[in-house]
């Protein structure tokens, strides 16, 4: 239990090197060692999706990923979506007032971003509901989130086109 491993992986496009107990999850390493506080702990057992990050571009609940398994891989957290311009998902979610307490939102953004990249065209409401079914929100009733993700995908398409 006290074994410590040295992890080297890419976090938000930058290499990181961090030592952590071998039994820690990626969630623990991100929050406790790397101050990635946008990655939230809601249940610590893969039920809620608040800790969703992208691992090699795929959305995963970081509480179910043993940190040792991300050696050499590519991890992106919600902090990795910050940039000089507001990410279209943040803008759409904010404009739709799709975040109430906001605790689930970073995880939803990471799952939605992965979905939009995978689909590569404007998504339908049904695709969003299916794609985000692993993320729980207790405040909104989901409706405004779905509207916002669809709108963000349409805006991104318009920008590309």
């Amino acid at each position: 239990m006290d074994d410590v491993v040295l992890l080297r992986f890419t976090l938000n496009d930058a290499p990181v090197e961090v030592a952590a107990p071998a039994h820690w999850t990626l969630l623990e390493v991100l929050r406790y060692r790397l101050d990635q506080i946008g990655t939230k702990q809601g249940c610590d057992k893969g039920d809620c999706g608040a800790c969703t990050v992208q691992l090699d571009g795929r959305a995963v609940p970081s509480c179910l990923v043993l940190a040792a398994t991300v050696q050499g891989r590519d991890v992106r957290t919600v902090e990795g979506l910050r940039g000089p311009a507001l990410h279209p998902l943040f803008d759409a979610l904010d404009g739709a007032v799709a975040a109430q307490c906001g605790f689930c939102t970073p995880g939803i953004v990471m799952a939605a971003d992965a979905l939009l990249r995978k689909v590569g065209r404007p998504v339908t409401a049904a695709e969003v509901a299916e794609g985000l079914a692993g993320n729980l929100c207790r405040c909104t009733g989901y409706q405004k989130i779905v509207e916002a993700v669809v709108a963000a995908s349409e805006r991104s398409e318009a920008r590309r086109g």
Binding site: G38, G42, C43, C48, F103, A129, L136, R138, K144
Partner: protein, 796 residues
């Protein structure tokens, strides 16, 4: 602008246009939250911080014989262990019923009750230390059923109880109930059970406590009632309140589940005092389920009398409430289970008899729609049964029983604005009620229900003559405003509401308003986020302060321009001359002119509730509110008669919030309420497994089964605005009322779909199939005709 502006400072000045009200605002804090910038309680760390854990009882009911903490203290990295004897003062959010300790002193009363707490260098060490503590228990008989708990031979559960396992009994009668029932053309009488449910906010409860060099204890807590936490910390820790600073960081949802002090706050605070180090304590998800304080299970017997044309003659309700091990808000819950049924219908006679019992289970408390969601379910189902029996359209039957605006209800609640009829009309039109209902085939159905809710309570939890809400407002030299308020923003958007009111009055953009909240060292006292009080109460306080400052700024500008102050409007970050719109000055400069004249531009606004709007009888203050919201829902369901699964197809939800200061936020409250109520109707149940010693039947979000994106239907949020003279610009509540009708609306829609009455939540497949079987037997025996011409599938 009608009634607007009668509250606040009493000036009803006629501004030509509104500037911010009713616009599609972005919330002032949402971007920081969604981008992972905002630090929630568990995102805070301090140098030298220790991690605390609570050791919890595996027994539902036991005497603590001995606790040996030595093995825990022997583990390297363990800094302190405390037990119930270190925190012997009982507490409780209701001052009349302090009946729990942070850690069990002599006994434990449910599985998950705390017995000891540990502070250690990290979480793993704290967990190991909890496991190392040896507790010797003498197991006592557990009591899981409230009726069994009330039997004379039952062992007394709560250590501070004065009347065995009776937590509270309320019986109130208004008018001639027995006469009304005897003279009724139709009496509908049935038993209903509302299963317990829990809040399941995604952020688990969390606290961080530290003591600074001056001996001030600072407690950051994921609470929705900083002020009540502050009071109880002072009492239990025996510290003067000024030596405690309570801060509520951004909060990850609450819904009533964080509206009283919890064991973790006392434990972390004492461990910080003992060790001199910052101490953090984060609940596991299992601990959140054990802390509970969710919706009370209620067994309700309702008898309702009607005339032949569908007018109510009398209502008689008898309710057994399963309280769990502690009081929590139970005294209020017991009253609310009856009091809030007084509207939206005119009841000629009404009696309720409600009994709350202690049981050896996690304590129940206030969940969104506190105390009144359960009776609303029973009563609206009664109305639907009467409508069917009397051959009256269920919306029409409700119309026939409407109150008037400014009515006094049978239990003497003073209703002001009354938008209920418009709510009914809106859902009727939007759903295409008549044609849609007539066209739906067997298996599909439409149901309707209505409700009311309070916009805060006229009386504080503890007796006081002090204002219920206060706000301090300051304008600065950069043309911006800062609002200081004790109000807890729990995600419902109260900080945005304060920014909207400030910006509206002073002509600012929302981005110009900095809202500082819920820090007891910086902000005036507010009672917190409960009973849907903040928009009305804190909004009024903010409006008063903002109007005072607007008067100073507009007056200073008027004097410079040598015009009457009534000609000066503050709007779009400028002061403008209404009669000479070319004459204008940026607000920054206007603020300078005003500061030059008055000194620092600061104002305090206060709001206190009317004290003449409540029942004249004992208990008549409970349920009395400055203003009542109204709601009507129509739900369409699809019942799979092979599996018993009920799917909600679509929901139309109309809510009278008085005035929507920020419509998108109101819509979000309506949509979230419908979602949460739908979950209680179909999926969720907070069940304790009495066959396995009282453990929680499924303490995870997956087993408890929160609805996902795929489970939630399209919801049409329809805003109805009947401004109330008591509210800021006429605003009333929107956060809790819209939850109520969805549960009976779904039950009634199931009846419309397949002809069976579900009188127990949740309407899960086994219950639906059993009801279909029962109907099939009745049809086979010739006692019932096929519903909608279709025989119930499960014949035999």
């Amino acid at each position: 602008m009608g009634d607007f502006g009668k509250r606040g400072d009493g000036r009803d000045d006629a501004r030509p246009t509104t500037w911010q009200l009713g616009r599609a605002h972005r919330k002032v804090d949402a971007l920081d939250r969604m981008r992972g910038v905002a630090r929630y309680t568990d995102d805070l760390t301090l140098p030298g911080m220790l991690h605390a854990r609570i050791k919890r009882s595996p027994h539902a009911h036991a005497r603590i014989v001995a606790i040996d903490a030595a093995p825990a203290l022997a583990i390297p990295g363990v800094h302190a262990v405390i037990t119930g004897r270190d925190l012997p003062t009982p507490y409780g959010v209701i001052p009349w019923t302090p009946d729990e300790n942070a850690l069990g002193v002599d006994k434990v009363c449910h599985v998950g009750d705390g017995v000891a707490a540990v502070a250690a260098r990290d979480e793993d060490t704290a967990i190991a230390a909890c496991e190392a503590i040896v507790v010797e228990y003498e197991v006592l008989p557990a009591v899981f059923d409230p009726r069994a708990a009330l039997a004379p031979e039952a062992p007394t559960i709560n250590p501070y109880s004065k009347h065995g396992n009776l937590s509270k009994h309320v019986r109130l009668e208004f008018g001639d109930v027995d006469g009304g029932l005897a003279g009724a053309a139709l009496v509908v009488e049935h038993d209903y059970r509302f299963e317990g449910t829990t809040h399941a906010a995604l952020e688990p409860h969390c606290v961080l406590a530290t003591v600074d060099g001056g001996g001030v204890l600072t407690v950051w807590s994921a609470t929705q009632v900083s002020h009540y936490l502050h009071r109880e910390l002072a009492r239990v820790l025996d510290l003067p309140p000024h030596r405690i600073r309570v801060i509520q960081p951004p909060l990850g949802g609450a819904f009533g589940g964080k509206s009283e002090p919890f064991d973790l706050e006392f434990c972390a605070a004492l461990l910080a005092l003992r060790t001199g180090r910052p101490v953090k304590l984060l609940y596991t998800r299992e601990e959140v389920f054990a802390a509970h304080r969710g919706r009370h299970p209620m067994d309700m017997r309702y008898r309702t009398g009607f005339t032949a044309d569908g007018k109510l003659t009398a209502v008689d309700a008898k309710t057994i409430i399963d309280g769990g091990a502690y009081s929590s808000f139970g005294l209020v819950t017991t009253y609310y289970s009856g009091q809030l049924l007084g509207a939206p219908y005119a009841l000629p006679a009404y009696r309720f008899d409600s009994t709350r019992a202690y049981t050896t289970k996690p304590a129940c408390g206030p969940k969104r729609g506190h105390g009144s969601v359960q009776p609303r379910f029973a009563f609206e189902c009664q109305l639907d049964e009467a409508a069917v029996a009397l051959g009256i359209d269920p919306i029409e039957l409700r119309r026939r029983n409407a109150l008037d605006a400014d009515a006094r209800t049978i239990n003497e609640l003073a209703v002001g604005s009354y938008g209920f009829l418009e709510c009914l009309a809106r859902v009727e039109a939007a759903s295409g009620w008549r044609t849609r209902r007539a066209a739906l085939p067997y298996g599909r159905g439409l149901g309707v229900a209505g409700s009311t809710y309070i916009s805060g309570t006229n009386y504080c939890i503890y007796p006081t003559e002090l204002p219920q809400a206060s706000v301090q407002l300051t304008l600065d030299r950069s043309g911006r405003a800062r609002v200081f308020s004790g109000a807890n923003d729990i995600g419902q958007g109260s900080s945005t509401m304060l920014a909207v009111i400030t910006a509206e009055e002073l002509g600012l953009d929302l981005a110009d308003v900095r809202v500082v909240t819920a820090d007891s060292d910086l902000c005036p006292v507010d009672l917190g986020a409960y009973s849907s009080r903040i928009t009305l109460m804190v909004g009024n306080a903010c409006l008063a302060a903002a109007r005072e400052l607007r008067g100073k700024v507009a007056g200073a500008v008027a004097r410079r321009w040598e015009v009457p102050a009534s000609r000066v409007n503050l709007i779009a970050r400028e002061a403008i001359d209404l009669e000479d719109p070319a004459r204008r000055v940026p607000l920054t400069e206007a603020f300078h002119w005003a500061e030059a004249e008055h000194g620092l531009l600061t104002a305090a606004g206060c709001y206190d509730t009317p004290r003449d709007r409540h029942g004249s009888y004992r208990g008549g203050t409970i349920g009395a509110s400055p203003a009542y919201s109204f709601t009507a829902h129509v739900a369409e369901v699809d019942v799979d008669v092979e599996t018993g699964e009920v799917r909600v197809v679509e929901v139309w939800a109309a809510h009278d919030c008085g005035r929507a200061l920020s419509p998108k936020i109101v819509e979000g409250q309506i949509e979230g309420s419908v979602y949460m109520g739908m979950a209680e109707a179909l999926l969720e149940a907070h069940l304790i497994d009495d066959a396995h010693g009282g453990v929680h039947a499924g303490p995870s979000l997956l087993d408890y089964r929160l609805p996902t994106f795929l489970d939630t239907p399209p919801i049409h949020a329809l805003i109805v605005e009947h401004p109330d003279a008591q509210g800021p610009y006429g605003a009333k509540e929107a956060g809790e009322g819209p939850l109520h009708p969805i549960i009976p609306a779904i039950a009634c829609a199931i009846f419309d779909a397949v002809g069976v009455r579900l009188r127990q939540t949740p309407f899960a497949p086994p219950r639906v199939l059993a009801a279909l079987d029962a109907r099939a037997a009745e049809e086979a025996a010739g006692r019932l005709a096929p519903h909608k011409g279709a025989a119930a599938r499960r014949a035999g």
